[in-house]
């Protein structure tokens, strides 16, 4: 009764807060949009576990699937590893290059991981974390799809599946070179 004059203040205060909360709950806080999409992929040049050099520059003209992983990333990296290898085998003759980058890892554990899944595509460690930061990686696994012109086009966070890889690679392969 005493605050009757201020009744209007209650909806005036509650409605904006509700609007803000509605906005907040409709957006997924775990989904952090990568600012890299559509931008040129950062150049890198690393030595693979097999000792060979691998650089993005050397892959110009190919669609590149860049997969960040680590041997300690359980279970997601272990879940996706067979799919990554299958994708590589299915697409290697279609102008696609799959490159694995091992981050924050111990070499011995990383080699065991590669042996366990029999990976046949090039994999390289990122000993100083440079490449991961250049790609704005905040966890493993993360997979980037780079088009023939060297632009980052899609980013997949979490375990990759055959379907997701196929969808992105097919889209990029359809584009004119």
């Amino acid at each position: 009764m005493t605050l009757r004059g201020l009744r209007w203040a209650i909806p005036a205060a509650v409605l904006p807060v509700l609007a803000l909360l509605t906005y907040g709950f409709w957006t997924d806080p775990k989904e952090i949009p990568s600012p890299l999409l559509g931008r040129p992929a950062a150049a890198f040049s690393l030595a693979t576990f097999d000792g060979g050099p691998i650089s993005l520059e050397g892959l110009r003209g190919k669609v590149v699937m860049l997969n960040f992983w680590a041997s300690w990333c359980v279970p997601a990296c272990y879940d996706e590893a067979p799919a990554v290898e299958r994708t590589w085998r299915a697409y290697k003759n279609q102008g696609v290059m799959v490159v694995g980058i091992d981050i924050q890892d111990k070499e011995e554990a990383a080699r065991q991981f590669l042996a366990r899944f029999g990976h046949t595509f090039p994999n390289a460690p990122d000993p100083r974390g440079r490449v991961s930061v250049d790609y704005g990686v905040y966890g493993v696994p993360e997979t980037f799809f780079i088009d023939r012109n060297g632009r980052v086009r899609f980013k997949h966070v979490g375990a990759l599946t055959d379907e997701i890889a196929r969808r992105h690679l097919d889209a990029l392969l359809k584009e004119p070179a």
Partner: protein
Amino acid sequence: MRRLLEAAALTAVVLAALQGRAAVAAQVDERVVHEVAAQLRCVVCQSLSVADSPSETANQMRQIIRERLAAGESPEQVRAYFVEKYGEWILLSPPKSGFNLLVWVVPFVGLGVGLVVVVLALRRWSRKPATAASPALDPVMRERIRREMSEGDKT
């Protein structure tokens, strides 16, 4: 004695490590590295800055900050590099522009509105006894209260 030897060995190792680090970043002010790192979110942690996190990732990020500063970049340029890669999400304090302004403005607006409401309410409450004194109790009610209270005493 053995404790002492261990301590001495540890000190020697730490000193050697510190010297090695000083040699790498001789021209970079570690305070500036810390200042930049403190503004960046550690990407593998929950609510920790790159300066505060003991993780390997944060360690590498600090090294990247150090190297970029050593290469002649300003602290703002180093920060801009991380924002370019990770988005504004990497900044622990949202920039004071656009939608993010809400975060900075709303608390103060809320505080102001709250104060106004409290002041208005206090005024009304303090004015009320003077304007509307409670009506006198009618004799019937008074008698009833007395009776019921004395009954309560008996039980």
